[in-house]
Amino acid sequence: PGAPPSDYLKDASKKMESGLMFVKLVNPCSGEGAIYLFDMCLQQLFEIKVFKEKHHSWFINQSVQSEGHLHFATPMDPLFLVLHYLTKADKEGKFQPLDQVVVDDLFPNCILLLKLPDLEKLLRHVTEEKEIDSKKYYKYSKEKTLKWLEKKVNQTMAALKINKINVGARVQSAAFCSADQVSSDEEEDYIRYAHGLISDYIPKELSDDLSKHLKLPEPP
């Protein structure tokens, strides 16, 4: 059983007879394969996550399903995936057209990313660009990427607070420190937690750079 966004998918099903498909693309953090849902009609990318816990099964109507899995399809920022290819191509250190950057023998379905609308606009967050003979050329910019990721961290922190997610990494004892101390520690826990969530979508090296950029203390 899974839970994709409701109204969205129902609308999508009215508009067309095909165009929703699951494909395997790279996981931008691990470099391994992961399943994504692509909507070819609305040109949107969804990430699939599976909730798995030991010793669970489903009863579904008059049947039993031994794996108690619950799949989630949630909208994904395609820039994380494109960034995976940009950082790889950066080793060559030059401006390149996007269709030469997003190339993958292991996951040939990556060409679907190039069809996403507004991708050019999104690329401004993480690249320098040049236009020659009305063709666009891009080069990864670490500086811009870190600024973009910092905004993502802030946005995620706000959601953690709204959803009252318990981010406490350590037991806090108010008796031993002043009120200010408590709240600044708490703030740091939120940054660290948000940094951890974003780090699931970027390579390790970039995650370390982001940690420095956010002035997070080295983990003990």
């Binding site: 099903s13 489903w58 009863f59 108690g68 949630t74």
Partner: protein, 169 residues
């Protein structure tokens, strides 16, 4: 939680039959706190459902002689639940069958058989039912606020924050 489902190989595209989303009929789902090592029809409506009792603060049922306590969990309003089933591998098997046959008859003539079209590898999945709520069961007690599945249900709102576009400077 980790990503994925090992079904799809790198090349495959698994097409979701969109009409099945529209036509999916609501199903009754129970998430049990134990592993039942079977995937098959079961007379849930004969043995399990009629035994569910409403007690103060929880639903109660017994399964294999153990007391389960649980409650109804509502799928967050921005989501819809679907039960999906992969279609039989007909297309894929057809493709592979041809390939093996050609391998057998290859001897001698050296003629190269054309590769099956890429779409031969594509597969189809369809929604067989929908759900907006399910019953969550715990052994003896109702799963608490820290239960993993409850945490999982907050994931979509966090994912939205992580993946929403940020403003440009």
């Amino acid at each position: 939680m980790d990503s994925g489902d090992e079904e799809a190989s790198e090349k495959y595209r698994i097409h979701l039959r969109p009409a099945t989303l529209r036509d999916a009929v609501p199903a009754t789902l129970h998430l049990l706190p134990c592993e039942v090592l079977a995937d098959r029809p079961a007379p849930v409506g004969r043995f399990f459902t009629p035994a569910i009792r409403q007690r103060p603060g929880a639903l109660e049922v017994s399964f294999r002689g153990r007391i389960l306590r649980g409650e109804e969990v509502v799928v967050p309003p921005s989501l819809a639940g679907y039960v999906m089933v992969m279609d039989e591998k007909a297309e894929v098997l057809a493709g592979l069958g041809k390939k093996q046959e050609s391998r057998g008859s290859e001897k001698g003539d050296g003629e190269e058989e054309p590769q099956p079209l890429e779409r031969d590898f594509d597969r189809f999945i369809r929604a067989t039912a929908s759900f907006a709520r399910f019953h969550l069961w715990g052994l003896e007690t109702v799963p608490g606020p820290d239960a993993k599945v409850r945490g999982a249900l907050t994931w979509p709102s966090l994912a939205a924050a992580i993946h929403t576009q940020v403003p440009e400077d």
